[in-house]
């Protein structure tokens, strides 16, 4: 069933449209930077962006930092929100379940397919970021700028390793959005409703992070550790927030997938 869901996802034009759109903003940013050569000062703007004018190979990281806070979650919410509700709306859910596909299997396959989409999207953003960065932006070695906080510079191998770690971490960070959207997707027959519901949750989380009075809640908010992938580029890697971030995402997945399962496995399919 997982294979079937992957095929469905990959053969869907929407999947590729979303990925193209995801790459549009970072590419636009790169073009603007290349043309104007006005970069944000170090410490301001999205992470790494101040460094890319001198070293284009860092642009994948800047691109990830650009799409992570808003674009990526929107894409994930749309895809995951569509997972069950979209099939219900199209009427295919009743035919899938009478093939038969067990409801639990379907849910797991949907989650795996959403994850595969996230990984694919993040990888494409990183690769496109690399190509764009190399061709448009600076070619000087600016690794000292990146590791400025820790004072030492990274070797090329380290940089590649840590970029890959970041890709994995960013993908994992999307799990909470995916789980929430998937859960909502089992409650409604409207894919749009499920996607918007998940986004409301994210916006609330982002807002609460800026509020001092919400300090008690902040460690448990899904977006709390999203940008912690920057910590991979300290020397040595600062693991504390990264580990917490992954654990937090795991908790969201367990809780919301549990609710999704409890609802979906006994639900009357009337679509």
């Amino acid at each position: 069933m997982i294979r079937v869901e992957l095929v469905k996802m990959l053969r869907r034009p929407r999947t590729w449209a979303v990925i193209v759109l995801l790459n549009a903003l970072p590419t636009l940013v790169a073009v603007l930077l290349a043309v104007t050569e006005i970069g944000p000062r170090p410490g301001e703007g999205p992470a790494f962006l101040s460094a890319v004018l001198t070293d284009g190979t860092l642009f994948p990281l800047a691109a990830l930092a650009i799409v992570l806070p808003l674009f990526m979650p929107v894409a994930v919410a749309v895809v995951a929100g569509d997972a069950v509700a979209g099939e219900a709306q199209a009427g295919t859910l009743r035919y899938v379940l009478t093939r038969p596909v067990r409801r639990t299997h379907l849910l797991v396959a949907k989650l795996v397919s959403v994850l595969a989409f996230v990984l694919l999207a993040v990888l494409v953003v990183a690769v496109v970021g690399y190509v764009v960065g190399r061709s448009l932006l600076g070619t000087e070695d600016a690794r000292t700028l990146v590791t400025g906080i820790s004072g030492s510079s990274l070797t090329s191998t380290q940089l590649v390793e840590r970029t890959l770690l970041s890709v994995v971490y960013v993908s994992l960070s999307m799990l909470s959005v995916a789980a929430i959207a998937l859960m909502l997707s089992t409650f409604t027959d409207s894919p749009l409703g499920a996607a918007l519901g998940a986004l409301v949750f994210l916006i609330a989380s982002t807002l609460l992070l800026t509020l001092d009075a919400a300090a008690v809640l902040q460690p448990y908010l899904p977006t709390r550790y999203w940008l912690s992938f920057v910590d991979f580029f300290r020397d040595p890697i600062l693991w504390r927030d990264l580990v917490r971030g992954v654990l937090l995402q795991a908790v969201y997945v367990v809780v919301f997938l549990g609710v999704a399962w409890a609802n979906f496995s006994t639900k009357d399919i009337t679509s």
């Binding site: 069933m1 294979r3 079937v4 095929v7 469905k8 053969r11 869907r12 034009p13 199209a90 009427g91 295919t92 009743r94 035919y95 899938v96 379940l97 009478t98 093939r99 038969p100 596909v101 067990r102 006994t266 009357d268 399919i269 009337t270």
Partner: protein, 303 residues
């Protein structure tokens, strides 16, 4: 014979509404079973319960001799379904849709042959390469049936299968279903089209506001009613002659309480009554349904 579908006291309650009210279905293997009822009488809910899509509030259901929904994993591979209209992934071709549905149920071995075969059977041969979003309703209906036929099911559960088909398509569909039935497939056909059911079915169940009010073989339903219909221009003479056995007189048409059509004919002709037509009375399916449903004005049946 074993039961293809058997339910006992099957009930589904949606809040205060009893959608399905204690029905005892009995479909034998080899039947073409017509499941009749007005829109909203509970047909689709019953079908969904049989397929494990909706959970019954109480009662039991067995499909192909095994309990549903508990044995769904072993029962459903032998059941082909078309519930409440066809559905497919619009951005894919008909063939690609069948490939996906086939992959959900069976292994890769023989897939091409299976799909080619069902496409051919429903008359979608060449159109299988076109995207489903360009299909007409009739073509979608054919594709839905093709998907139902994947895996050579023992039981076909079809909800309004001729919906959207032109007269030619309806005829082809009927011939296909009858051929499948002749080859041993049991067919459970839910419909509100009486003519369709009358032409195809061997058994009929009639649902009226959630309750099964008739379940009988077509043969029994269409047996002579014990009355004879006579059409004669000499109504008054016949009336005098038959002495109170005439139940209805409607112009030239008399309905006489007698199952001896031959004897009646001899009597009338012998006495010089001219007979235009004379035949034992048989009820049509429409009459059966109208008689059985409590409030005919509430029933949207059409023939």
């Amino acid at each position: 014979m074993t039961a293809a579908v058997a339910t006992r006291g099957l009930t589904k309650r949606y809040g205060p509404v009893l959608a399905v009210d204690g029905i005892d279905l009995d479909v034998q293997e080899g039947d073409v079973y017509g499941f009749l009822g007005a829109n909203g009488s509970g047909k689709t809910t019953t079908v969904r319960i049989l397929l494990g899509l909706v959970l019954a509030t109480s009662g039991e259901a067995e499909v192909l001799g095994r309990p549903m929904p508990r044995a769904a994993a072993s029962v459903l591979p032998e059941v082909g379904t078309l519930v409440e209209g066809p559905a497919a992934y619009g951005h894919l071709t008909g063939r690609a849709n069948l490939e996906l549905f086939d992959a959900m149920g069976s292994g890769r071995r023989g897939r091409r042959a299976r799909i080619g075969d069902v496409l051919e059977r429903v008359g979608l041969g060449v159109a299988g390469e076109r995207k489903v979003k360009c299909y007409s309703l009739g073509m979608r209906q054919r594709l839905g049936l093709a998907a139902a036929l994947l895996g050579a099911p023992r039981l076909l559960v079809l909800d309004e299968p001729t919906n959207g088909l032109d007269p030619q398509g309806i005829r082809e569909m009927r011939e296909l279903l009858l051929a499948l039935n002749a080859a041993g497939t049991t067919i459970f056909l839910s419909s509100h089209l009486l003519a369709e059911v009358e032409q195809m079915c061997t058994r009929v169940g009639v649902l009226d506001r959630g309750r099964l009010v008739v379940q009988e073989s077509m043969h029994v339903l269409q047996q002579p009613t014990g009355r004879t219909v006579v059409v004669t221009p000499d109504g008054d003479r016949a009336l005098a002659l038959l002495d109170g056995r005439v139940e209805v007189r409607d112009g030239q048409r008399l309905v006489i309480r007698s199952d001896d059509a031959a004897g009646l004919n001899r009597l009338l002709v012998g006495e010089g009554v001219r007979v235009l037509e004379l035949a034992p009375e048989r009820r049509g399916l429409e009459q059966v349904v109208l008689d059985a449903t409590t409030d005919p004005t509430q029933v949207g049946v059409s023939s």
